[in-house]
Structure formats: C-alpha cells, structure tokens
C-alpha cells in the first residue's frame, strides 16, 4: 500500500471520462465561465464562445456526464452550474477512511505476524 504503487487500471479507467471531459478547449472555457460567473443559461454561455448553441449544449452534456456541471430547468431554459463538490467530497471522505484502514491493517499485520 505504499505511495509508489502504480495506480490500478480500474481506477485509471474510472478517471478517464473526467479527463476526457476536460480535454477540450471549449469545455474548459465553459467550465471556467461557470466557475467564475455561474449559474448561467446556454444563451448567456454561447455569447462567450464562437460555436453554436447546439454545440454548447453538447459540450455541457459531456461535462454533466463527468459530474462536473449540473443543470436545472427554469421555464424553457436550462440553468447550468459548476458542480465540484460531489466528486471532491466523496473522494476526500474515502481517502480519509482509506488511511484509517491502512493504520488498522498495519496493526493487524503486526498482531498476526508476531
């Protein structure tokens, strides 16, 4: 369980959609706009980029699937917001418990090997 262990393939695979979602200049720009000025509608967002509204919506959907943004319907429009928290908090929580397990299992190891 040392820090130098390679990251398991399954974990890398799980993280891939997140990085794929971030690996596009328009999507990074959308994310930055939502972070700095959100929540925003597609109309407001498309004013800031040189692509169609449909393309903006598609990009937002990719970000949404990666859990980076979410949308709320308001009348005929959808309002988009940056959503860093769910991902972050879940990982921090598990990280803390994971470290706790390392300590406990270290004690189990010492206990049965002596």
């Amino acid at each position: 369980m040392s820090r130098t262990d390679a990251i398991p393939a399954a974990r890398l695979k799980g993280a891939a959609p997140l990085f794929a979602a971030l690996g596009d200049a328009t999507r990074l720009g959308l994310l930055a706009s939502l972070c700095a000025g959100g929540p925003l509608t597609v109309t407001r967002l498309s004013g800031q980029f040189d692509v169609s509204r449909q393309a903006i919506t598609k990009h937002l959907e990719v970000l949404s699937e990666a859990g980076l943004v979410k949308s709320l319907r308001q009348g005929r429009e959808r309002i988009w917001t940056f959503e860093p928290k769910r991902l972050e908090e879940a990982h921090h929580y598990l990280e803390r418990l994971s470290k706790q397990w390392d300590v406990s299992l270290g004690r189990l190891k010492a206990f049965v090997e002596n």
């Binding site: 369980m1 990666a66 928290k85 406990s104 189990l108």
Partner: protein
C-alpha cells in the same frame, strides 16, 4: 457520476502468518478488538450485533456496533457498521451502514487478505460534507487558475 470509486474502499495485503491465525484475529471478537483498538462485548455470530467502544483515549466517546453478516471458516468474515462515527452528538443509528468484507486465501507461504468496505454512496450526503469541509480548496482553486489561464 462516472467514477465507480466513490462507493467502496478496497485494500489488499499479504500477511506472513497462516490462514488459521489470521482467521482467529478476525473472527474472535476479543482478538479483533485487540488489533483494531476497541473493547467489544460478546462474540461474533452471523446475524447478531456486537457492541464496543474505541480504546484510544482521544476516541473513547465512540461507541460502535458491528452487525455480523457472514462467517465462512477461514475464508470470509463480513459485518455491517457505521463508518467513522466521530460526532458524539449525532445519532448514527438511523443511517445506512456500510458492509466490510474480509476475504482470506493462502498465498506465498502466508495469507492474502482482501478487505472491501462498500455502501458509501448510500450514506447521507452531509457525512461527506464533513470530510469536504476539511479540505475544500482543491477544485475551486484549480478552476480559478484555469479561468485566469483561458481568459488571458
């Protein structure tokens, strides 16, 4: 959410001890309490709960319940509990529990132990908020930096 890792914790370690020895350290409530650092009352029986208290002076307020799920001689021990119940003012008893599974197998003259704790996605969201508050700077700072980068 596309990350499957938010629901469980997995650990694997090799122990230089016979499977029977490891099994005893897990399945005997007194021995479990000794290495885990808690005082447990009673014995582990599938379907029944064992109650205990953390013995570390900083965490003595923590009362734990372990509801034993399965015990398959020398290969599988599993139980339900409330993970990390740190807040003494909070009543955890109504919250969903997580399932902890210990699987044992012979390996390299010793025992390979696999531990999986699952069910975190069913916990109330504010359990995670607590952890999030401790370190909430990550993404927000990153995004401010990205914003600066793409707008300059």
């Amino acid at each position: 959410m596309t990350t499957p890792t938010t629901d469980c914790i997995k650990k694997e370690l090799h122990l230089r001890a016979p499977q029977a020895r490891v099994w005893k350290a897990l399945s005997d409530a007194h021995e479990f309490g000794t290495w885990f650092g808690m005082k447990l009352e009673g014995a582990f029986v599938p379907g029944e709960s064992v109650f205990g208290r953390i013995t570390h002076p900083d965490y003595e307020h923590i009362h734990l319940e372990m509801k034993v799920e399965r015990m398959e001689a020398e290969t599988l021990f599993s139980y339900w509990w409330h993970p990390y119940p740190m807040d003494k003012k909070r009543d955890y008893s109504k919250e969903p529990m997580t399932l902890v599974e210990f699987r044992l197998e012979v390996a390299d003259g010793g025992t390979l132990l696999k531990v999986v704790e699952s069910g975190f996605d069913k916990l109330p969201p504010d359990r995670r908020d607590e952890a999030f508050r401790m370190n909430d700077s990550g993404w927000t700072h990153q995004m401010v930096r990205i914003e600066r980068y793409v707008t300059n």
